[in-house]
């Protein structure tokens, strides 16, 4: 120690010297949080701006089309003279819900089974390989999925289904949206199941439970809030999915449920109008805001539901 002191300054004196330079950083300490606050406010104002635009344009739409017709009419047929046009959102909502339902029938069992495998059966090594692959799958652009639906899944279904399937239909994009959501459900559910403490698995195994019984009757119920939240987020994602349904779903809005026929979802309608040569200020132009508002309400409800379920089903441990 004494030798160190003779040829080297002590840490204490070095810190004392540095203190003066740190006083300059006091300014930084005050400014930096303000910059961060501004960044946070930007996102809030963007959200508010979007909601404001949606609301004003939606009000304009409802000054031309009655809200009762919008909700009760089952036909959506805007591309005609204004007096013959039908604006029944149900036709678009049914398209969206059909695709979402098919997607969830595919995504929930497969995603959940994958999550159970990764969390309860896979070795640490296997998990290290499979999880990144799943996450890559989640990063594939949706347009690629869209062409996968149109050029691979639809022809395949056409061969399998007796009587064939029309080139644009609800089934093919539904399945592919489901495939797209699998990694999301698998990954989020696996996180929730992984968070269940090992002591609980040991407790069940010490009672003579098999691995499957441990997974289904202990781990899954304990992780249920996270698992259900992943389902709801998956549904929300399916409702908002645009590219796949635009490419492979078709553009024939209908309130009938026939998965082999062409449909149109809310998102696909918005794309159709945005791409077309619809003039500014026409009823059709305003209709996309009303549809957008409906879509926004659906996903908002789903996200609130996810939060509510997370709280409600939480098994405290």
């Amino acid at each position: 120690m004494s030798r160190d002191k003779s040829n080297q300054k002590s840490i204490r004196s070095m810190i004392q010297e540095k203190k003066s330079s740190r006083s300059q950083s006091a300014v930084m300490e005050k400014v930096v949080p303000k910059i961060f606050l501004i960044c946070a406010i930007i996102s809030i104002f963007t959200t508010l701006g979007i909601v404001f635009t949606l609301l004003t344009e939606t009000f304009t739409f409802f000054s031309r089309v009655s809200i009762v017709e919008f909700i009760t009419n089952t036909r959506w047929f805007p591309f005609t003279s204004d007096e013959n046009a039908d604006y029944g959102i149900l036709a678009l909502v049914m398209g969206t819900l059909t695709v979402t339902a098919i997607a969830m029938v595919v995504a929930i069992p497969v995603g959940l089974a994958a999550a159970i495998y990764l969390s309860e059966y896979a070795s640490a090594k296997t998990r290290k390989v499979i999880k990144p692959i799943l996450e890559v799958l989640a990063g594939v652009p949706t347009i690629v999925y869209g062409f996968f639906a149109l050029t691979f899944v639809t022809p395949l279904l056409d061969k399998i289904i007796p009587g064939g399937i029309s080139i644009f239909n609800a089934l093919s994009p539904g399945i592919v949206v489901g495939i797209m959501i699998i990694p999301m459900i698998a990954s989020l559910s696996e996180d929730a199941m992984n968070a269940v403490p090992n002591s609980m698995r040991e407790g069940a195994m010490a009672l003579g439970a098999t691995r499957f019984e441990v997974a289904i009757k202990v781990v899954l119920p304990a992780a249920l809030s996270g698992v259900i939240a992943s389902f709801v987020l998956g549904i929300s994602r399916a409702i908002g999915e645009t590219m796949i349904v635009t490419i492979a779903g078709g553009s024939r809005p209908t309130a009938d449920i026939n998965v082999t026929e062409s449909i149109q979802t809310m998102t696909a309608y918005i794309v159709q109008v945005s791409q077309g040569d619809t003039g500014f200020g026409t009823t059709i132009y305003y209709s996309i805001y009303a549809v957008g508002m409906t879509l926004f309400l659906f996903t908002l409800i789903m996200n609130l539901l996810a939060q509510f379920i997370s709280r409600k089903f939480r098994e405290e441990y």
């Binding site: 070795s123 640490a124 403490p197 002591s199 609980m200 040991e202 407790g203 069940a204 195994m205 010490a206 009672l207 003579g208 439970a209 098999t210 019984e213 009757k217 202990v218 119920p221 304990a222 098994e315 405290e316 441990y317």
Partner: protein, 269 residues
Amino acid sequence: MDITINKQMVQKDKKNQEFTPVFNINNLNLWYGQDHALKDIKFDIPEKQVTAIIGPSGCGKSTFIKTLNRMVEMVPIVRMSGEIVYRDKNIFDPKYGVEELRTQVGMVFQKPNPFPKSIYDNVAYGPRIHGIKNKKVLDEVVEKSLRGAAIWDEVKDRLNENAYGLSGGQQQRLCIARCLAIEPDVILMDEPTSALDPISTLKVEELVQELKKDYSIVIVTHNMQQAARISDRTAFFLNGEVVEYTDTSTLFSNPSDKRTEDYITGRFG
């Protein structure tokens, strides 16, 4: 192990050994990777008595108790040799299923680990996975097990509440009740009171005394007074070996090995 000690042990054992064994452990060796954690373990565990396992941290006592119901196999790198005979069956025999073994040999853990379910569902979990669905039977099992674990009076009015609302000591007795619900033959306890306060510890110790009328109990403890208070026989583990195994009063009053004496008089550990 020293040959002279072995001889002494055999003699002592002969003198005291008038019990029916539930477990015969023969030349058990266990490795975690390269680490030789249990070395040539050889002794018998008596029926309807309390066998305490004492020793300093890292001596292999928890590893040992976990081999008795094969929970140790949850560690992926574990290797074993030798045999453990449970009531005339080698537990490592592939024909003897691990689930069947664990149904006979229950376990209570160091930290209370109830399921995040109601008190009732916690106790009914074991019977349910073994196929008992009848509500009336389950009601009876739950009451009997909770009474057996001396916690019935405290929880009888709140059976549908979450088990995590109970205190640590109550949770541990609930875990004992959960274990009793499938009516095992042997109960393994891995430092069951180390996370509990003195009063809860006392309750669990009293409970162990009650339970040994019907069950064979193996208890790991780092608390020598506890071993002296509640056990009939005690094994002293050191560095993965059994240094001494005899009836508890002899081990604590007249240990035959210097290392045992040093440990129980508090010179190390």
